[in-house]
């Protein structure tokens, strides 16, 4: 028993899970039961897959030891590319592929510049944040183009499941999360990502093609962000050029809350997912708790720090339990 407790809580993602459950209970009480009502859950599950998909990519990239600030902009760029093409009469599937290709290209450039010139990805992707946002605005001309009506919404945004609680996007999210999680834990690629982020010189000297691994992670991250952006646009019905602003920091925060180390090598996709849920729960719960508008950001900031502090504290407690392994 003691051993089980120790082993589980030493995992940062499980420590985050404990925190999540506590917060949910808290908000459920504070909101007089509205928090877990079907209506509210529907709202949370609507936006969660979008931030969640982005967080999956960011988490993997962070495990690989790099960093992407451009995800928020790519989030807006991909659907805008798609929308502009759709308006021009391109079939959905081609427009979709073109959008994903654009994301892949951005991820590639991020990775290539970072590695080729050995510069911090913080800068490459900060620059790309501006570049991708600018491109979004340029191709849209500043205003969202009108999406055609015959889009395959059934594939991404219709409600499904018991009580119409989920959207299709949630299934995509869960599917991709499981896939990503298995890739990280079961395949050799996952092993390489972890080694590359854990200690680059060692990974290199053991023959891992670290440059290619990193570039792949950058591309994956951009593509997931773009995919998430597309889902959001299909949900909202309008390819706004301003969506995703500020999401990059939220995504990193979610990954860290879920136990991913900013220095690379440590982390789990599941942790990132839990972090994303936590962030959405906090945001939603605070609205329902009727926190005063001017104090709202205070509460967000406080709870973000609090989440990480508690996570760290739980792990420390677990570590100090004296059970011989």
């Amino acid at each position: 028993m003691k051993r089980l407790l120790k082993i589980s809580l030493e995992k940062p993602e499980l420590a985050a899970l404990v925190l999540l459950v506590v917060l949910i209970i808290l908000f459920q009480i504070r909101s007089d039961g509205v928090f877990l009502s079907a209506n509210n859950l529907r709202g949370i599950f609507g936006i969660l897959p979008e931030i969640g998909l982005m967080v999956i990519g960011v988490t993997i990239l962070m495990i690989c030891g790099e960093f992407d600030l451009s995800v928020g902009s790519v989030f807006a760029l991909m659907p805008m590319v798609m929308a502009v093409l759709l308006v021009d009469g391109t079939p959905f599937i081609l427009a979709f592929l073109a959008g994903m290709l654009a994301c892949a290209a951005i991820g590639f450039v991020n990775g290539y510049l970072t590695i080729r010139f050995n510069i911090p990805s913080f800068i490459t992707t900060l620059g790309m944040l501006f570049i991708a946002r600018s491109l979004t605005i340029v191709i849209s001309g500043g205003f969202p183009p009108l999406l055609p009506n015959d889009l395959p919404n059934w594939l991404f945004t219709v409600f499904v499941g018991p009580g119409d609680l989920f959207r299709m996007s949630f299934l995509w999210f869960v599917g991709i999360a499981i896939l990503a999680s298995l890739t990280m834990s079961r395949t050799n690629f996952g092993n390489w990502v972890r080694a590359t982020g854990g200690f680059l010189p060692a990974a290199k000297s053991m023959g891992i093609p670290t440059a290619r691994v990193k570039i792949a992670c950058f591309m994956l991250c951009s593509m997931l962000a773009g995919f998430a952006g597309m889902i959001q646009v299909l949900r909202l019905g309008s390819p706004l050029p301003s969506i995703g602003e500020g999401w990059e920091l939220q995504a990193v925060a979610a990954a860290v809350i879920g136990g991913t180390a900013l220095t690379g090598g440590i982390g789990a996709v599941a942790g990132g997912v839990i972090g994303a849920v936590l962030i959405r729960v906090i945001d939603n719960g605070l609205v329902l708790s009727q926190v005063d508008a001017n104090w709202f950001k205070f509460a967000i900031g406080f709870l973000t720090i609090f989440a990480v502090v508690v996570n760290s504290w739980l792990r420390k407690r677990a570590k100090s339990i004296k059970v011989e392994a």
Binding site: N188, N191, K204, S205, M206, P209, G265
Partner: protein, 243 residues
């Protein structure tokens, strides 16, 4: 004499502001264990880092079996059959022992273009065996390398190299941090290489160890080779003298 397995010609290495290798030429034959000795900063690690692809030479040529080769990355070296234990940086501290043993060469259940699902049972089993082979007492193959003692860490690195025996084995000060028994294991491993027709390059500051297991002694000083003799033709004192 048969074509040497590896031969380097006129190798130069410049770090910013340091001329670390000043025209080194050496041949290594198959089934030969070469002891590489020399002062601190003589250029030993630099030389073998170039052979194992961790660094690239500024100038000079490397050939294997008489054919010129380009070694640009550690992967290139591995593909040519060169296995290395580095003086530093050989393990990922945030990963488990079992994972570290197989990084880059994971046994796969099935694969596509080199990517696939790892055979984790095989990894666990083989890692237990590999560690036992070097006489290390480790809690479990799932412990993180970053939490091991200095010698345990070094032991894992050696277990890895011994497990993936190759055509050429390079060991850069492998016995540092190792306790007496484990050191003995390493020395007998190096001596045993020749019976397997493997070339061994063994760097150590312990002259006794070098003389115990090597067929040939190469001494370096200030980026140059200053002595290159068969073990039976030289003495410890002569080697100590040139250093």
């Amino acid at each position: 004499m048969a074509t040497p397995v590896i031969s380097v010609r006129d190798l130069h290495k410049w770090y910013s502001g340091v001329h670390a290798l000043k025209g080194v030429s050496l041949d290594f034959a198959a089934n030969e264990a070469v002891g590489l000795v020399g002062d601190n900063g003589a250029g030993k690690s630099t030389l073998i880092n170039i052979l194992s692809g961790a660094q690239t030479a500024t100038d000079g040529e490397i050939s294997m079996d008489g054919k010129p080769v380009q070694i640009r990355t550690p992967r290139d070296a591995m593909n040519l059959g060169i296995e290395t234990i580095y003086q530093y940086n050989s393990m990922v501290p945030t990963m488990s022992i079992a994972r570290n043993l197989f990084i880059g060469r994971e046994p796969l259940k099935f694969s596509l273009f080199g990517l696939g699902v790892m055979d984790r049972k095989k990894m666990a089993d083989e890692s237990v065996r590999a560690i036992a082979d070097v006489d290390l007492h480790l809690r479990s193959p799932d412990a993180l390398v970053g939490e091991l003692s200095g010698g345990q860490r070094q032991g894992v690195a050696i277990a890895r190299a011994m497990h993936f025996k190759s055509r050429v084995m390079i060991l850069d000060e492998p016995t540092n941090h190792l306790a007496v028994k484990e050191t003995g294991k390493v020395i007998s491993f190096v001596s045993g290489l020749k019976t397997l027709n493997i070339t061994g390059i063994f760097i150590s500051h312990n002259i006794h160890h070098v003389f115990d297991c090597c067929d040939r002694i190469v001494a370096m000083a200030r980026g140059e080779v200053v002595l290159d003799k068969r073990t039976e033709e030289t003495t410890m004192d002569e080697v100590l003298d040139v250093l």
